[in-house]
Subunit: 340 residues, 4 copies
């Protein structure tokens, strides 16, 4: 039985506590939460759990084997470093941390102390992504050409992240799972509505070495929630609509075929439209799979699919995208001032 | 009765002929079409119409008052210039021409000879855009913040245009109609699947002087056809789904309100979710309105809403976007070569 | 080349003329239409076609080989009888006629004179029904259990038919095509809104000998148009949504399996939910197939799939359903009067 | 503080317990449940609650003020009678009981002992029905003409009820809430798939005195879950799609207008198609409202909207519908035997 401390009890914390409780391998030994009223409620429901105000203090508890970090992103690095250096396994909410340098330090530390560092890329344990992974790995779509994601809604104001850091990690972790390719170009632009420094809308484009493009349209300003992720392959195309209760995934037997037109020596594409197939998706809770995976990786029964290196790959894109976004938005702002 | 020659009888030509025939002001005096079989068919159905092989010849017919140019884009400029210089009114399929310089020359020439130069920005005469225009002009949405368009489908290969020049003019003409603002930044990137030089996917972002962003996601490689255009305003938001037969337009009484939180001196946004309203949209054929407008502008009864200056504004964005697109795709290609 | 006279030029007539013209086997020798303005227009577009006011006169033209009857339902019988007795082949818009007795007389007459009597059950030639027929005949759904149809919209007032006779023939002809079973029970009820004698809403239930039920929900009073036809089989279920442009047909790998629960000696059903498959549907025009079939049956190249016997089977259900409907509505009206 | 015993802890029981716990007026003093494993789990989570095996025993507890009956339908009557006769308030899951006679006896008894008898017609406390009620009562739809409900899914086998008793109470309680009219005709038919005596599909039609029809299409054999309830009024029509997350209710400004056509002295209907309006629906949990209502009615602060008389009205329709259903299915079965 692993004794775990859960740091932070906002949106993600209660879910992770519930899933640790349902899993036979963990005991929720401690919870840290800033708000007194919430602490009181936790104490009422979990009389055998230590409830602390300070997350940093929870990390020092000697009888704790692991910590789950669900505090604001800016605190991830310090808490994870402290926990690892005290020999505890660490599960961090996405994104792992805020810079490439921090990610490297955490990875090195985890290897040195021989403890598990895991980023909660929850989506990898959804039935939808597991099915997509299986379809892509089986080569059913043919060579991947593009990813196109739309992830928009009326967003919650989050003081420590912008729309990019809030929404992109989901798609980036999925894309990183689906293709093993190097990024050769990152473009990012967007729009700041509420606050000059916090984009509410971000458009991110990634170019990969082997002729793949990925585009992410992210917004906190859409009246309608959309979770649409398309994958174009040479043979088939797939659309994952996470809000469609009946057909989360549709696979289109559509594609582009090439015919060499001899007299003109040009290649004519021929668009093929075919049947549509919608596989049944398992409806299990993804976070239960994450918690199970955490236990299995700690026990050495499974190799991690979301370790520090995976977390770093996502942070690397976020950091570079943020730089391009900043540069673009500054240039636009300068031109606007010139006109005014 | 205006005698009109229709140049080109591919996709758009037959529609424009049909609408000229239905309109009481025009007589279709001539049609030019390269393909002999199609010419034979035209002659059978329209025995009193002159049917020619060469569009350039049709422009020289002395008894013609106007020409409608539905030939490939690269030929628009030469045909329009010749027609105008011979004193004929000109209706050109979008886009007007391929460069800013050409557009300027056509505008100047039309003014000099006192003839009408009109670009067929058909969408401006759809019931949906007319309703949106009315809603926006009435201030119902509040100050506009963003436009977000998704215009994707399995595309027809067109040898003389890429996905940008094929799909963007629709949205650009609509945006140009809805807001009167100056562009201060253009970003474009994309993906070439079939041919290194012809993008099949293009992502275009426009930044306007008065704090507006527009994003266009265009693709010839989507298994599903999507025509989704969102407008975000400070008061309300609007989604136009052109493929939704029942509710083409939905207006969301949703918005973002700001509350100054005193103790912290920060502004807290509050997302408001409210009723949805879907106005009835007129189902008239847009091209009939274009043809009627052409007649009215020639007769001096209406001011043109899609004259050469409007055509130029669209071509200007296309030309600048193409430059950025080329530069980006060359840079990506170079980095890919370096890796290989 | 068969010379055909088209009787009636309202909703269906122009479509049938167009399809006869496109088909190489027919020449539209005559058209009959009551309205003078429409006759003038027909004459303009079809200068070589005889245009008459009186359908009964058109039937007497000696150089006519066949007639297509697109006049109001109450006139079908007399016109078809006259045409057959003069040795002409007959294609009648659905329903064939208004009584079982009339249908029998037409069938007998057609056999006696050796001419083709065909009812235009157009739906049998749609891509959707052809695909469904193939799926059902291949046994893919398993033994059929039920049909459930919803066919509602804001209806056109038709003076000579009610909602039952207007809408039911479509589904009845499809059901008759899909299963070869005897009806052992007919129930019908409904609602008269505008006129005491013309139901605007009808609910029809058919029970078949081999454990199949069919339910038709028909209405002229629905704000939304619905064309939904479900088929439940022991193995799979199918939903045909004729207004869904992307997925007209969905086949659900869902079913009910039975497990004998030993300790209680009861059978426990287990609902299986599985993949969904949406086959591509051909988008040809159904009426072109009907016209081709008419030519082939006349020429002896094909056996008819919609002859007088098929038309009779539909009329038989309509006549019996009408009797039950009348009886029910009279009883309800009587009870209402008693209360008032 | 009212001490309540919850009888039965299957599907509804846990929900009612949770809502009693969240409501400040109740203390869950006892729970009765047949299954030992479930009792053990209840005891673990609710150490201060008495957990019994026998519901009949729980009713006899002297310190209990009220009982909530969530046991199988056939046990409702005996448990409710016993509880009332011991002076306890009673909340019964729908349907109230299985016969009109039982319902009368419970109503009489409740009045005699001066205790509250309430049926949990949960839907009346959903945001959707509350909004519909408000729209209908305000006369926005005009005079009601019809109700049309489709309530289908892959059903759970329930040994003590059929599809009619399982699904109809929801719609019947809503219709009873929306119109105050007398039923003058009930028709019911259906289909038994699994078991000769338990219909899996039921079609129910009700005719009301003031020219209203209601049709319910209920099935446990549909691969797709549908919850669609349409209301047609003379002025407007409303569709409630309970599974539509964005637009649960749509109000169509569509209707039928009558024009007297003078020359023929007939009335011509004119179908009007207009705007669509989708009001925002409150997303509170309906059962919380039921529990609050129970407390308020007990305290005399509110008049009951779902008392025994309302429960009786639903049971009356169910009992009469069951008789007609039985008679129809027996007749069909007899005709099938005759043929075989």
């Amino acid at each position: 039985m692993l004794r775990v401390a859960v740091l932070g009890y906002g949106y993600w914390g209660p879910k992770v506590v519930r899933n640790f409780l349902s899993n036979g391998c963990f005991q929720v030994a401690a919870v840290a939460e800033r708000r007194a009223a919430v602490r009181a409620e936790i104490a009422r429901h979990h009389p055998r759990t230590i409830v602390l105000e300070d997350a940093a203090e929870a990390v020092t508890l000697t009888h704790i084997d692991a910590v789950a970090i669900a505090t604001p992103v800016v605190t991830h690095f310090a808490l994870a470093r402290e926990a690892l250096s005290r020999g505890k396994h660490v599960l961090v909410e996405k994104p792992l941390c805020t810079t490439i340098a921090e990610a490297h330090e955490l990875i090195t530390l985890a290897e040195k102390v021989g403890r598990v560092l895991m980023v909660d890329h929850t989506f990898l344990f959804t039935g939808a992504v597991q099915k997509i992974d299986q379809v892509v790995k089986a080569g059913e779509l043919g060579k991947i050409c593009y990813f196109d994601s739309m992830r928009v809604n009326l967003g919650l104001f989050q003081p420590d992240v912008n729309c990019l850091w809030d929404l992109a990690p989901h798609d980036l972790s999925v894309i990183d799972r689906l293709i093993d390719d190097e990024i050769v170009g990152i473009e990012a632009t967007g729009y700041c509505h509420l606050n000059r420094n916090i984009p509410d809308i971000v458009y991110l484009t990634l170019h990969f070495a082997h002729d793949v493009v990925a585009h992410l349209n992210m917004s906190w300003m859409s009246p309608v929630k959309v979770r649409r992720f398309a994958i174009g392959g040479k043979e088939k195309m797939l659309i994952w609509d996470d809000l469609d209760q009946e057909q989360k995934i549709r696979i289109y037997n559509s594609g582009i075929e090439y015919h060499r037109q001899d007299e003109k020596a040009v290649i004519i594409p021929d668009y093929r439209v075919g049947d549509i197939y919608s596989p049944r998706i398992s409806r299990h809770e993804a976070l239960a799979g994450v918690v199970e995976h955490f236990a299995n990786v700690i026990a050495g029964r499974e190799a991690s699919i979301m370790d520090g290196h995976r977390g770093l790959r996502v942070v690397r894109v976020l950091e570079e995208a943020q730089q391009r976004l900043d540069r673009n938005l500054r240039a636009i702002a300068a031109r606007r001032r010139t006109l005014a």
